[in-house]
């Protein structure tokens, strides 16, 4: 099937300086690949006035300088038309192994919800391959796609006021790793000592080095003790 014709990108304004483009109703590989190619094209040739952009699972959000707010609608139509036929991005993914200790306070909660033993939860979590679909929420937080459907577990009803950096957690259909201490409502099943965010690298000429991961990376969790 020609994926270039299988997507119909819709957009709407998101305030006076923003545009949100929607590619699909549900996350998946073809949406992800399209978002990768759109991101790539934005970075190679950003539209005039673009000051920032944000990835979602099925969306991409663009923010413009106030001076360009007047012409956003025409620009949005042009971008959507161009992106409908953008070829998939052909980069080679990086492979990253994340050492993990499965000692999280919500391991039992996930086990109870899924009807498995805690050992089986850990085994299934470390057996899967994950892809970083996006970074967001707080600096360097990876949303990992590929969680075994049997491990899908709703977020906590009341978020914890503080989750320590390095916490490995399950939120709904996804798993992720907290790069910094933040309040959060995901089920914490373990922790890693790997640093996902290096604020000390955020000042140099290549601030992207501050982040361990980026969209497209393939992740495996490797249990350590």
């Amino acid at each position: 099937m020609n994926t270039a014709l299988s997507l119909l990108i819709t957009w709407r304004r998101y305030g006076p300086h923003g545009l949100i483009f929607r590619l699909a109703d549900h996350p998946g590989d073809s949406v992800f690949e399209r978002l990768q190619s759109i991101s790539h094209s934005l970075e190679v040739s950003p539209p005039v006035g673009l000051v920032d952009y944000f990835r979602g699972f099925t969306t991409i959000t663009l923010e413009f300088e106030a001076a360009h707010a007047g012409s956003l609608e025409a620009l949005a139509d042009n971008l959507a038309r161009a992106w409908n036929v953008t070829p998939p991005y052909e980069g080679t993914p990086r492979r990253v192994e994340i050492p993990v200790v499965y000692d999280g306070p919500d391991l039992q909660r996930v086990a109870d919800h899924t009807g498995m033993s805690t050992e089986e939860v850990c085994f299934r979590h470390q057996s899967a391959h994950y892809r970083v679909h996006m970074l967001g929420f707080c600096p360097g937080f990876p949303y990992l796609h590929g969680l075994d459907p049997r491990l899908h577990t709703p977020r906590l009803d009341t978020p914890r006021p503080g989750v320590a950096a390095g916490a490995v957690a399950i939120g709904g259909e996804h798993t992720g790793i907290y790069p910094v201490n933040r309040p959060g409502g995901w089920n914490i099943i373990g922790h890693t000592n790997e640093k996902l965010f290096h604020p000390d690298r955020a000042g140099g000429s290549d601030p992207e080095r501050a982040f361990l991961l980026r969209p497209g990376d393939l992740i495996r969790f490797v249990p350590t003790s």
């Binding site: 304004r13 998101y14 923003g18 000051v51 952009y53 979602g56 969306t59 970074l135």
Partner: protein, 294 residues
């Protein structure tokens, strides 16, 4: 180093909160880095403008009350924003001399005050992703503590020189704001506008909302009638500052500068960036109203 620096003040007490803020960091949203920056751009910009500073020069952001500073050199300063009991007048340039203590004792209205120094604060290590804005949760800058020293750019071209016969420079009277009475805040339709019935939208625009104490640099929580969304969760997508999120309990959370860049609550609208500073300055218990933006 490009700029030479000179100590300008020492923090005696941070009070309830003291950080450095500028116009924020842009361009790293896709990595999850929030914009941060001054909560009230109006007051922040006037503080810099009075001193001929660059529009994005860093200024001290003072939360509510209690901050105390000792100046280490003679300098012009400007304080704009929240109404604080203080020896320094707001909305004008003030000359302070080395050894002067400035205390911000009691907050009378508003939440955030901005103190700028001539030339702007400078620090060799304090720029993260091109901004001095403190985002302490992720180690980008820090909340100031007693004893911290701040420096300013030390060059004659950074100094403020008023024309002969002029004692001070003032912000025009009609630009002073009374934060107790915010005007109706303009709201644009949000990405999930269609998740809300006509009736729920009318309820949002037709009622007073009260700001609550569960509000900070990440978000402002409002209390009022319950608003229902067709779905209580969406697939995670961008959340721009000013977004009016409606979680399952029906009480809006307006995302602010340090808020998460991505979230899963439906967004009914977006407070116009030009009006967001009014909400930021609304102390708990303040009544706010929203009006559709055209």
């Amino acid at each position: 180093m490009l700029h030479s620096l000179q100590p300008v003040l020492r923090v005696l007490s941070p009070g309830l909160g003291l950080t450095l803020q500028d116009t924020g960091r842009h361009g790293f949203g896709r990595f999850g880095v929030p914009r941060s920056g001054a909560m009230d751009p109006h007051a922040f910009s006037w503080a810099n403008r009075l001193l001929n500073n660059a529009p994005n020069a860093g200024a001290l952001e003072i939360l509510l009350q209690g901050a105390a500073l000792e100046f280490l050199t003679d300098t012009w300063i400007a304080v704009c924003g929240a109404d604080l009991e203080c020896s320094v007048s707001r909305w004008r340039t003030v000359r302070v001399t080395s050894g002067t203590h400035v205390e911000f004792t009691r907050n009378k209205s508003g939440i955030w005050a901005y103190l700028a120094v001539e030339g702007g604060f400078g620090s060799e290590a304090a720029e993260y992703f091109g901004s001095q804005s403190t985002y302490a949760d992720a180690g980008l800058g820090k909340k100031f503590e007693p004893g911290d020293l701040l420096q300013r750019l030390d060059k004659t071209e950074h100094r403020l020189v008023l024309p002969p016969g002029v004692a001070s420079r003032l912000v025009p009277w009609d630009e002073h704001r009374d934060y107790r009475f915010p005007p109706p805040l303009r709201v644009w339709p949000g990405p999930q506008w269609d998740f809300f019935t006509e009736q729920d939208r009318s309820r949002f625009f037709g009622n007073d909302w009260t700001t609550t104490s569960r509000s900070d640099r990440t978000g402002f929580r409002l209390a009022g009638p319950s608003i229902k969304s067709r779905e209580s969760q969406i697939i995670s997508e961008a959340v721009l500052p000013g977004s009016v999120q409606i979680p399952g309990n029906g009480q809006p959370i307006v995302t602010m500068n340090d808020g998460p860049t991505v979230g899963g609550y439906p967004k009914l609208g977006l407070v116009d960036p030009a009006d967001l500073g009014w909400l930021a300055q609304a102390r708990p218990g303040t009544k706010v109203r929203f009006t559709p933006s055209n």
